[in-house]
């Protein structure tokens, strides 16, 4: 299946029902107990002098 076909079908399938978590869902920061895993640093250098 091509990527486009997959995406189209997947979107249809994933949106048949109302999602368990709506697009406005935010767990309150007072309830956040873990931060997941630290992402690896980017392989592009950050220039602190940029404005």
């Amino acid at each position: 299946m091509s990527d486009k076909d997959f995406v189209t079908k997947f979107l249809t399938l994933a949106t048949i029902n109302k999602p368990a978590l709506g697009p406005d869902f935010q767990k309150p920061l007072s309830e956040v107990k873990t931060l997941g895993v630290a992402l690896p640093p980017l392989k592009y250098k950050y220039d602190p002098k940029r404005t």
Binding site: L11, P23, Q26, L39, P41, R50
Partner: protein, 320 residues
Amino acid sequence: MSSVQSSSGGPCTPQGKRSLERFSQRVSKGEFYEAHQALRAVINRYVNRAEYAEAVELAAGGAELLLKAGQGGSGADLVFYLLEVYDVAGVAVDDASVARLVQLLVLLDATDPTLKDVATGMNNWSVKHGECPFGDPRLHNAVAAKLLEAGLVYESERYMLLGTEESLEKYVDLLYGWFEDAGSDALAGDFVSRLVFNYLFIGNVKFALRSSQQFLTRYVDSGAAGTVDTITKDIGGDSGESTFTMLYFADHMELNFLQLVLLTCMTKNRDLFATLKQQYADCAKEYSTQLQVLGQEYFGITAPKQANFLQDMMSGFLGG
């Protein structure tokens, strides 16, 4: 319990006001050391008498004057003293107590060697005396800006993530600017994935959606993204936002994958999650650690235990 009243207009008593005036005069004459020591002694007396509101105002006012005079070392010392008083007095995290710290943080020079310690000290207080296990979001927003100014980009990112809506805007700006600077070899997915995963890790669907869409829209508008189709799906929300918009990139599979990861987490549907990983095997491999975390958070998939040969053997012997 906090006995410190929030006040906006300097020390509460005429006595305190006089102390600060004397201090200010000495600072303006360049007698920094003497002024600093004298004020510390005065604050100390207030602390010993448990007159914390006064001590807070003097420490904050003194630190402000020293920082404005370019005296980072003694200014930071008074900031630490202020935090000590906050702690002893049990000052709770609220608008006034946070604003006082934010104001001082803004005045601190980004090159000050104590910057990270000041930031950590402030955040530790907000962890201990506030509701958020990682500290206060308003404080994080200010800390993130200052750390970024100092070039401490990954430390800054961490605070942005746990910040306010304003921090989200800064986070997108940071990553998009970085992406542009990195030039034509840079992959948008490397940057967008940080927004998607970091916000999903802390259960913030709203910010994951908003930040990734802002980033991708800017990418599309730049004209460098190639062919893009916009696909909108109704997701039947009761009020507010009730559609899911996907930007389909003909030339960037990874960007499609990342947007679908986000949607799939919203559904909490384990089968969809499996299908998605299967279809995008390369991406799933690249982001396997991140997907494992999401698997636990959103789909209740427990991570496979590390193989422990000895333990397996023992439990085998014991019939467990």
